[in-house]
């Protein structure tokens, strides 16, 4: 049997051991991140092991030479999906060591476009076999991997889009100042996927995790020892250091889990989703800015922008304003105050989808921004001109500033009638029921505006939901604090890139 002194020694030893193990785990974890980083290295053999497809690709080059070539390979989007790319709006760039790349300068190629089938139902391919023969690598060949794209119409000059000797696939959106790896330095039998992909955790990642687990086990033992023996100041100190170590470990785990949450695609609400949101109907007045200063009135129904950015999504800290974008390039810039306030007559600023109970006509809809007058009335009555802000053909609501790494949707990427909301917004906490919808404007007559009778969920949150809210926000807050502190600690402890990357991982966990 050990005496009191022996027990103290043992518990102290255990704490030292656990801290050491955790430190090793942290260092290994950091080293591994630094080594693997944000590049996914695929061997040609890895690509060949993926689900393959074969097709006869018709091509026309700049000389209008028509050829049909048989290729076997993997679909580009399938390959990207395998790398964890889920954002359809992510822009892709495919590069070769001779400097050639696709898409052409000044154009973009998105994952969504790569999913589009061309003539013959063919998809863009990373090919490794041409006319049943393996592609040779350069300097004289076009392989071992070659990007080939089908024609989307029979006269397409598609050959320039083909990229021989594919080595690098860049996945956007990229963070500011991010530098792709030098394509010339990538070995001929590999293809690297780099950019906005989930962090890469190779099998060797299990080693630091094992260390971490061992550290935790020893820590638990020491805690039990401390609790089993009577408390003294020394024990207290041991317990505190053990807790600190546990804190670091929890941070590591959170970094691992949170790091996978990369920059999300903007939320895109389909027309059906928009129409089923709590609608607002009102009798709006309009005054034009230029002579003859026309004035008119109309009933519109739509979704308040304040509902979209405060309840459906949440404004991120630092959100400064809103830009509502139209398909024709027009943009209406609004302050948060304009978005959130209630205008004379109880009117709200809305994205309208119906006018007088009917869907908006093609020249103004399917979606139109409706900004009420600050003072209703004609020019003579002192009304203010609001039509310049009432942009037609709306497709997106941008909350400024747009953080680096967030997809900026193009009009073409948002289906007609759908609405993208992006920028300084975050997802609301999970399982949180949105707050009660804004009350329909009392002047609105449901008989005249059938859309005003759109389903309006629970007027007040039921108590059970309130409790859930509290639990969620409490958990979210604690998680945020833990990962922030742990992230900062790691970035201080670990030198250079490893620290920075870890910090990034924490940052990306949505904290």
């Amino acid at each position: 049997m050990l005496g009191k002194e022996g027990k103290v020694k043992r518990s102290r030893l255990l704490v030292y051991m656990s801290v050491l193990l955790l430190l090793v785990a942290a260092i290994l974890f950091g080293l591994n991140i630094a080594l693997a980083g944000d590049v996914l290295t695929l061997g040609v053999e890895d690509v060949k092991a993926m689900t393959s497809s074969r097709g006869d690709y018709r091509s026309i080059n700049n000389w209008k030479t028509v050829e049909t070539t048989s290729f076997k390979g993997v679909s580009v989007w399938g390959l990207l999906e395998g790398c964890g790319v889920t954002d359809g709006g992510a822009s892709i760039k495919i590069s070769a060591p001779d400097g050639y790349f696709w898409p052409a300068l000044g154009t973009t190629l998105t994952v969504k476009e790569l999913k589009k089938k061309g003539i013959g139902g063919l998809l863009p391919l990373i090919g490794y076999e041409m006319n049943t023969k393996a592609l040779d690598p350069e300097p004289d060949g076009t392989g071992p991997l070659r990007y080939v794209a089908p024609q989307y119409s029979i006269g397409d000059t598609n050959k320039p889009s083909w990229v021989s000797n594919v080595r690098l696939i860049e996945v956007g959106p990229l963070e500011k100042g991010a530098r792709p790896p030098a394509v010339k330095k990538i070995p001929a039998d590999q293809v690297w996927v780099w950019g906005n992909i989930p962090p890469v955790y190779p099998m060797s990642m299990m080693i630091p995790l094992a260390f971490g687990a061992a550290g935790l086990a020893v820590l638990l033992m020491s805690l039990i020892t401390v609790i089993a023996s009577r408390s003294s100041r020394r024990h207290l100190r041991s317990a505190v250091s053990a807790l600190l170590a546990a804190f670091l470990l929890a941070g590591t785990a959170l970094a691992l889990s949170g790091g996978t949450a990369r920059a999300q695609a903007s939320a895109v609400f389909s027309n059906g989703e928009l129409v089923s949101m709590p609608a607002f109907s009102g009798h709006y007045t309009f005054l034009k800015q230029l002579p003859p200063y026309s004035y008119y009135e109309a009933d519109y129904t739509g979704v308040p922008v304040s509902y979209l950015v405060n309840e459906k999504l949440r404004l991120a800290p630092g959100a400064s304003g809103v830009v509502v974008r139209a398909r024709d390039g027009y943009a209406a810039t609004l302050s948060l105050e304009q978005v959130n306030k209630t205008y004379p007559g109880g009117l709200k600023l809305i994205i309208a989808f119906a006018k007088g109970g009917q869907p908006l006509a093609g020249d103004e809809g399917p979606l139109r921004l409706i900004v009420p007058q600050n003072k209703q009335g004609t020019r003579d009555q002192g009304g203010d001109a609001n039509t310049p802000l009432c942009a037609r053909l709306i497709f997106a609501v941008e909350v400024t500033p747009v953080p680096a790494g967030v997809s900026v949707p193009s009009p073409g990427s948002v289906p007609p009638g759908s609405l993208a909301v992006y920028g300084s917004v975050t997802e609301p906490p999970p399982n949180v029921t949105p707050a009660p919808p804004p009350q329909a404007q009392p002047q609105a007559d449901p008989a005249q505006n059938p859309a005003a009778a759109a389903p309006q969920p629970g007027q007040a949150p039921v108590p059970a939901n309130a409790v859930l809210d509290l639990v969620n926000s409490g958990f979210g807050g604690a998680r945020g604090v833990v990962s922030w502190v742990a992230g900062s600690a790691f970035s201080l402890v670990l030198p250079g890139r490893a620290g920075a990357l870890l910090w990034l991982a924490f940052h990306r966990s949505g904290v």
Partner: protein, 172 residues
């Protein structure tokens, strides 16, 4: 005892992990086989076949360096919009054709590459002084994978600039 052993065993473990980590390094690439084919291409392109009205002649690229050289500053514009400015020098295509006794005018030249690529250069463009069979690029021999000579058509986009040139057919 335990205190003494702990750091030692940890250090050992660390070394083992390092050894495992280094195991995957040093893969070989399959370029060697390709290099052989490249050499074959380069040899084949040293002699350019010239076909005119059913008569086949040959243009040897080695002596081209001793003919009067023309330097061309141009921008190579590739099909994806990227631009590569540079200086190319070599022998004007028109003087090579003249030396071979190709009668003017002709309709166009069908220019073939070793890899099967085919370009068609009309008479007006073929006889321009800055349409050359280039031997150097930026004062250095043109890259070996482009062949001994490369067609440089300063007035046109990159798809005219045929690499690995092996044959010219005169179409009338």
């Amino acid at each position: 005892m335990a205190r003494l052993r702990l750091p030692t065993s940890l250090a050992l473990l660390f070394l083992v992990i390092l050894a495992i980590g280094c195991g995957g390094a040093g893969k070989e690439t399959q370029l060697l086989q390709s290099e052989k084919k490249l050499a074959g291409m380069y040899e084949a392109c040293k002699t350019i076949k010239l076909v005119d009205s059913g008569v086949t002649r040959t243009i040897e690229t080695d002596p081209l360096g001793s003919l009067p050289q023309k330097e061309v500053s141009a921008i190579l514009k590739r099909s994806n919009g990227m631009t590569i400015p540079g200086t190319w020098s070599g022998v004007p295509l028109s003087s090579v054709l003249d030396a071979q006794g190709v009668a003017r005018p002709f309709k166009e030249l069908k220019i073939e590459a070793w890899d099967g690529y085919v370009g068609r250069v009309g008479y007006d463009i073929a006889v321009l002084p800055d349409t050359i069979l280039a031997l150097t690029q930026n004062k250095k021999p043109i890259p070996r994978e482009d062949g001994p000579v490369r067609l440089v058509v300063a007035s046109q986009d990159g798809f005219y600039w045929v690499r690995m040139l092996t044959a010219i057919e005169v179409l009338r």
